[in-house]
């Protein structure tokens, strides 16, 4: 019943009582629907099948057809009169398209801003972690030499414990970022 090209009436929400076409079928009982907005004031949006009432009419359109294609199909099938709407003028179509473009542009800008902000935050967080690790490594290296004076007879083994400590610190530095 709810296939691509089926004309439906919306029965819920602010667009209730208005006609739309199914443009795409999605998982979980959802479909992509469009008026288009210039024709019936139904925005291109995802919609639950339970909020749609099918009509006997089907138009031939491709999956994810553009609004212009849908309007062309309406013309072919002579559906404007049956849906109780008139064919939209060029100005109306343009106005609707402009609105959509503006909305997309603003949302894109917002997304880009968000992405850049997140990157900056990540970098800052990484730097903070690095600095902290450096400090920890320093402290460990400073703390390690303490046992050295206990064995003052051999100079070589006293020097050795420093290196494993440094290695441990680096190993920790490698492990900790993974956890975060």
């Amino acid at each position: 019943m709810f296939d691509v090209g089926r004309i439906c009436m919306k029965t819920a929400g602010r667009e209730a009582g208005k006609f739309c076409v199914i443009v795409d079928v999605m998982e979980g009982g959802f479909v992509m629907v469009t008026g288009p907005k210039a024709v019936t004031h139904v925005k291109r949006r995802k919609c639950n099948v339970e909020h749609l009432e099918p009509t006997p009419d089907i138009i031939k359109i491709q999956k994810n057809a553009s609004d212009d294609d849908v309007i062309g199909a309406y013309k072919k099938h002579g559906l404007f009169a049956r849906m109780g709407t008139s064919q939209p003028g060029q100005e109306e179509i343009k106005a609707a398209a402009d609105e959509e473009r503006k909305r997309r542009a603003t949302s894109k800008k917002a997304e880009e801003k968000k992405a850049s902000d997140e990157k900056k935050e990540e970098k800052a967080a990484e730097q903070v972690v690095k600095e902290e690790l450096k400090e920890i490594a320093k402290e460990e290296i400073v703390a390690e030499p303490a046992p050295a004076p206990e064995e003052p007879k051999k100079a070589k083994p006293a020097a050795k414990p420093k290196k494993p400590a440094a290695k441990k610190a680096t190993a920790k530095a490698k492990k900790e970022p993974e956890k975060e």
Partner: protein, 88 residues
């Protein structure tokens, strides 16, 4: 004033006392035009308070919002759809 035509609201004063204030009663809940069920999304306020609210807070956004309940409005749209396509 002391009759029960006014509702009594206990109000705490800044001095720590509890005082009774007499306010006019609120109107009953708005009801669906066809099934008479109380509507949600329509505030129970005196008209003077209602006038201060924005339009979107006074009723649901859907057509017949604040007049019909969602299930009744859905049925109505379904019927309208059927009639329309039968007639044409």
């Amino acid at each position: 004033m002391r009759s029960r035509s006014f509702r009594r609201v206990k109000v705490g004063t800044p001095g720590g006392k509890q005082v009774i204030r007499y306010l006019k009663r609120r109107p009953g809940a708005a009801k669906c035009g066809s099934c008479k069920k109380p509507l949600s999304g329509v505030p129970r306020l005196r008209p003077c308070r209602l006038a201060k609210l924005p339009k979107t807070k006074k009723r649901p956004e859907r057509p017949y919002g604040g007049q019909l309940c969602p299930s009744c409005s859905r049925e109505l749209f379904r019927k309208k759809n059927m009639e329309r396509w039968e007639n044409v």
